[in-house]
Symmetry: C2
Subunit: 435 residues, 2 copies
């Protein structure tokens, strides 16, 4: 395996052994923070409680509300003079979620990020353009420090100024970019409109993350720009980017288990989901000194991808982010997430690029109405035939959805381009129950 760090080659056994020792150290370190000193004492937990990785379950969860309530100091596990960096989560008003890092924390974060970039083929001699906003948002400086650690020529382009972004990509033969998926699609379409083939740009690798996007959006980005796009996952509470990253197999994101313990739980019961089932990601830092965080509930939905990866890494893989735990829907007593519907739909080649989930009332009972566009090629071929083929497709989709959701939704096949478009975004849900 051609990789940057020895830790990437660890066997499951080596990972587990290291995790146990690091978890014990992390609990010890966390006890220096006022919040955990109280919380862990109440739960009667200290480093010696953790005799095996199974004992992780004894530790209470930490939520975003806990972090907010602990602002600004309650999670600090070192004297403030040891802190060299502060980051805050974006997009919130009111009390921000703030994470403080020591120099060691910053260094190991940069290492993890450099490892991700090396894994997808970026090398020291390559030019790298960081097209994400800098500042408190961790996507900017997080990726920047990783590229610098790798020794790339790093262009801190930031967000905006598309014309200059494109000029630099061409003039400095930029091999890899970090870009929001929606911005990648925007740039690609814009270039095509201007009569330029975006596939001729020198960029051959894109790191995409920070906003949820579908597999289909990724493939469109790759096709439009003539590059390979790799999914990046992170959140400021766990440093930022560099928590989990796709390898060149592009089949799930390896969680760096030498630095994080990952769990997936049912957000209702708080118990682990069955392997492969969708649930809420929960992370524990294993290397952080400034602000260790135990069992952090991310509200991000994913699932484990089982089996061994062709790249040889044994660090567990998670699926792309499939939504937020707050997105969970309940119809006819069954819990499900919109992304589960999308995954069923995408498994049918006859299904087009757009679909919408409508929540409707049938009398007094809630029901799910799935409207899905049919691939134009398929539609035109078939329309001379009788409608039986379409009815059969509709029945097949409904049946597969029943297998997944445990109830039978209504399925409506519609013509291509008849539904409103939603660029690169998660699947749309429209609640019509109040109409």
């Amino acid at each position: 395996m051609d990789c940057l760090h020895e830790e990437e080659k660890w066997t499951r056994d080596e990972i587990n052994k290291a995790q146990l020792v690091r978890l014990q150290n992390t609990v010890e370190q966390a006890l220096k923070a006022p919040y955990y000193a109280k919380k862990l004492k109440e739960a009667k937990i200290n480093a010696s409680t953790i005799k095996s990785l199974d004992d992780l379950k004894k530790i209470p969860f930490t939520t975003k509300d806990d972090l907010r309530a602990g602002y600004p100091d309650a999670f600090l596990a070192t004297p403030r003079s040891e802190i060299v960096r502060l980051h805050a989560s974006s997009g919130t008003t009111g009390t921000p979620t703030v994470i403080c890092h020591t120099q060691d924390d910053i260094n190991s974060w940069a290492d993890l990020m450099a490892r991700c970039m090396y894994m997808v083929g970026i090398r020291r001699e390559d030019s790298f353009q960081n097209m994400a906003g800098y500042g408190l948002f961790t996507g900017g400086l997080g990726i920047h420090y990783g590229a610098e650690r790798l020794g790339c020529m790093t262009i801190p382009a930031g967000a905006g100024n598309t014309r200059r972004q494109l000029k630099f990509i061409q003039d400095f033969k930029v091999k890899a970019v970090h870009i929001l998926p929606s911005y990648a699609l925007h740039i690609g379409e814009k270039l095509k409109e201007d009569g330029f083939d975006p596939r001729e740009l020198p960029a051959k690798i894109a790191l995409i993350g920070a906003e949820p996007h579908t597999e289909e959006a990724r493939q469109r980005i790759e096709h439009l720009l003539g590059l390979r796009a790799f999914n990046s996952y992170g959140l400021s509470e766990m440093n930022g980017p560099g928590v989990a990253f796709e390898c060149i197999a592009q089949n799930g994101l390896h969680v760096w288990e030498d630095a994080y313990i990952v769990e997936i739980i049912d957000p209702k019961t708080l118990e682990p989901v069955k392997d492969g089932e969708i649930g809420e990601l929960v992370f524990t830092t294993l290397c952080r000194k400034g602000m260790p965080i135990l069992r952090y509930r991310t509200r991000d939905l994913s699932r484990f991808i089982n089996g061994s990866c062709v790249c040889g890494r044994e660090h567990r893989r998670i699926d792309r982010i499939l939504g937020r735990s707050d997105d969970m829907l309940i119809i006819k007593g069954c819990n499900f997430y919109p992304m589960q519907v999308e995954q069923v739909l995408l498994s049918f080649p006859q299904v087009g690029q757009n679909y919408v989930l409508e929540l409707i009332k049938e009398g007094s009972i809630d029901q799910l109405q799935v409207k899905v566009e049919i691939n134009p090629a398929f539609f035109e071929e078939e329309k001379k035939e009788d409608m039986r083929v379409l009815h059969q497709l509709q029945r097949n989709i409904a049946e597969r959805l029943k297998d997944e959701l445990l109830f039978t939704p209504k399925v409506d096949l519609v013509e291509a381009n008849s539904l409103p478009k939603s660029e690169g975004k998660a699947i749309r849900v429209v609640d019509k129950r109040k109409d």
Copy 2:
């Protein structure tokens, strides 16, 4: 002297000796760049030409147009694989001015910046908030790396979001900020409007730069916010911030002469101005590997401040930026800069906060009309008296201006608040010659 680096304690002799060796090395390094290989060969210059610092004069100037014409590669003196960072000058359309840095370049830039911050009283254990935009603009990452080098808790707040900026300053007891002078004034006034005393903020040190501002604007910032504001000078072609910086004496900015050679020239004759006279700053890098630049004409106006500094540093001091060489005016055959007029006006205690320079026609001859507001306190006291006192003041100002400019402008004393305001900006010049 309590300072971060030994170089700060160097005597004039030690500075000169180091400069000579470093200049020779820099010429040798520059010859690896295609632009200088050609340019220096034409001028028959190589490292052995430089036998004393006086030989600097033999080296041709480099201009912004040269840098543009050399885009993207002609100034590169190392293989591109050694480059880890690219920055570009802001505010230009068309071909950008791009500077490429090796890891050593980035490190020594961070050292210089950390030295500036330590010099004005910022310490490892302090919190530091960087309120400048990040990205290609060097003010963001340049200051960020300096603060990190010093080991401060660095808050990469970036520009904007005033409410959050203020929250962090208070909640993390931020001792020092990097802020645009106009933004500092804006925040101070805003807080006062909201009934809050901005002097109660914990911030006690402000680094201000990036836009020209007067001494009076600095004093207003200090008074309004209850802190000390230190003038920062730099330009992306010479890395960015960290070229010259005020010490606690606040009487001129020390140029870090272990890293730069500074000259001040007459932009017309290209000869050195007399000591203490205003001219265009010219810099030569002494430590840069990626893109050494020789005798760069900055177009920024300043002058040397003579005599020894109370802080003990022998690194030469320059005045705050007094305008752009493009601002030069010619009246009655005499060249002068608006800032020279301001300096004369400010030496009169009776002169108020606002003045305007009007360029007018007297028949076919160009003339300068100086309209200046009189301090209200002075005006009210005197108005019961006869007008002789005012006439005397007017004559005194005109005479002092003649000494400075070598011609006699018209001087008009006007009432306070009768001229349009110009917040924290360089003095206004209105050309009425075409009316």
